[in-house]
């Protein structure tokens, strides 16, 4: 069942089309990656979902119901351009922002204490925000985004400004939130984290969705039947024959590493059969395209059209 559906959403600013009939479907309790180059329209779409911007046309449904401003309570949003009131104390501010999302004060206080303990930042409660480093502020921002246990979480570039240790901490928390029932939309340029976290993706380029679907299905769709084989042998094997094309071969001492594209009648097993009698195989695997490759390829293709 889908938690959020956007159907043919369009938006233009003074002559410039920011979104052109964009549709996405975010399944309940999944992580949805929104990818795209800068200026593609990701932030506009996110702002429309948050009711910050009004759409020109199209529909947005949350749990099957048309979105209304009151639904923003069920959304937690961490914008790309984010900040806090600098002169305000951390705890005071977190409480204020939680209450702004409709939490009762006492509950907000208890929950915040839990989160502050979890992130090991309880000692910051009475500090002013301006005394905190950027990374520290990001932690506080993450907490205030998730504090009211929203059904839908929207993170725009959540990892920017974090060190690798905190990135991992954040990833764990995001996965935990999904396990607890939250649905997450997640916009980023960090492709490694997309592969690691996302269940579905949509690639937006030039205000249009040019690719969307389940992540493994997309990777399969884009795989080029290339296999990488490592074997030990005194000399390089001659594998160029019907159905196989050797793309490259590297030699290190007595070990060869070849990338072979299987074409036409060939199959991965046939390739194995062909090599096995002649050399000792140490590894054999299919080379799958990374989301990064797909992203670059698709964006380039779209621009050439």
């Amino acid at each position: 069942m889908s938690l959020l559906q956007a159907i043919d959403v369009a938006k233009s600013y003074a002559g410039h089309k920011a979104l052109d009939k964009v549709s996405i479907d975010v399944e309940q309790q999944s992580i949805f990656g929104l990818l795209g180059p800068n200026g593609a329209g990701k932030t506009t779409l996110i702002r429309i979902i948050n009711m910050i911007l009004a759409k020109d046309s199209g529909e947005i449904f949350l749990e099957g119901k048309k979105m209304t401003p009151s639904h923003t309570q069920f959304i937690g949003y961490l914008p790309e351009e984010r900040g806090l009131y600098k002169k305000m104390k951390v705890g005071e501010q977190a409480l204020y922002l939680a209450q702004l999302k409709g939490m009762p004060k006492q509950e907000a206080y208890t929950k915040l204490k839990e989160w502050f303990d979890k992130f090991d930042i309880s000692s910051w409660w009475h500090k002013k925000v301006e005394e905190l480093s950027k990374g520290m502020q990001q932690k506080v921002q993450f907490i205030v985004t998730v504090i009211h246990q929203p059904k839908l979480l929207i993170f725009d570039e959540p990892f920017s400004g974090f060190d690798p240790i905190n990135v991992n901490l954040l990833k764990e928390e995001i996965l935990k939130l999904r396990a607890e029932g939250a649905t997450i939309i997640f916009s980023t340029h960090n492709m490694a984290s997309v592969e690691e976290l996302c269940d579905h993706i949509a690639l937006i380029n030039n205000s249009k969705v040019i690719l969307s679907g389940e992540i493994n299905e997309i990777i399969n769709r884009f795989k080029a039947n290339i296999f990488e084989i490592t074997y030990k042998s005194p000399k390089e094997l001659l594998l160029d024959k019907e159905g196989f094309t050797v793309l490259s071969t590297n030699r290190t001492n007595g070990t060869f590493n070849s990338r072979i594209k299987i074409t036409g009648s060939g199959s991965p097993n046939e390739l194995l059969h062909a090599i096995m009698p002649q050399a000792e195989i140490t590894s054999y695997r299919e080379v799958l395209p990374s989301i990064n490759d797909i992203f670059i390829q698709e964006v380039n293709n779209a621009q050439h059209e």
Partner: protein
Amino acid sequence: MKKKSFIIMTILGPLLMAATIILPAFLADWSEATKKRVAVLDETGWFHEKFKDQDNITFYYIYDDLETSKENAIHEKGDLLLYIPRTQLNIPVNAQLYSTIQPGLNVTTYIRTVMKKEIENRKLLASGIDPEVIKSAKTNINLTTYRIEEGGVEKKSNTEVEVGLSIFAGIMIYFFIFMFGAQVLKGVMEEKSSRIVEVIISSVKPFQLMMGKIVGIALVGLTQFFLWIVLTALFLGIFQSGLFGGSIPENLAQWDQSGQVIEQSIQTENIGLDKLELVKEIIDGINFRVMIFSFIFYFLGGFLLYASLFAAIGGAVDQDADTQQFMLPVSIPLIFSVMMTGVIINQPDSSLSMWLSFIPFTSPVTMMMRIPFGVPLWQIWTSAVLLILGFIATTWLAAKIYRTGILMYGKKVSYAEIWKWLKNK
């Protein structure tokens, strides 16, 4: 966040106000506290015994030559020496005052007055006129003006009082709009530059955020206004009893309970008491309920009008430096209305004054200036309705600019750009 500065301003404001009222009187008293002695060396003999001892000045006469007198009076006794030399025309219009210290304005003024009077008297006598005749011919005119209100009620009015009140009210409105308008601007810019604004508007609408800020600061302004009035009165009370041992100096006696100072000339010798009575009567005549009510209305109306424009500027610009080009055109009508003070208090009923008090951009200041003089009810209503329409219009415009502006980063805005935002749905 702004708690500290609010408290400081709340206490400091009235302290300053009380101080500006009290201090001149106090300083004047204090600086004259040292007694001065003046030795008079009068070669003409015209002024013998004419200089009478004053509060802080005593006179004595000497008959030595100038050098000896200087030696004795100034260097030995440390007094002042007034030397009136004999002149060719036999009219001693020149005099010299020697001293090692600054003689002080009251000393020179007194000497000048006495000499002038004496010479005039002698001249009159020489032309055969008895100075007593002139004296008896001098008359003091007390012109009491009455304003006939609708329904035929006569009210004693006094233009001096009204002018004072008028300027005070106009400047206060101007000051409050600017001071708290600047706070709105600062607040909006802070939210934008710290990038918290997008987090907030994912929970509340941009319009709500903007209006919340404006209304919040308006309430802070009103609170501060009331606290100022109360505290100023309080501080004045403390100052008076503390510094003057309970006795109220002459020029403070006209302090009335509502917090207005009535200017009055120093010549209270003959008519002082009458005038005090008169002032009291006039104060009773001023409708303070109308004054306070209209102050609150015009402060709120003017503030909402200007603060929404300030909020739009704060939302549109990215850096402090860019605010200037937008602040200027917005502030000009406000500054202009203060510059019109002279015109309005001279002719509060002229058609220029009337139109200025209709235009929403100038009406808060100019109408407050006119109200102490009495304004026809229909004009107040027209001005009030126009002001309400005015701030609805500016708020509507401002909301559009604000909504688009707060999410625009790193872009230098121009008027053309803002025009585009206004056309956006």
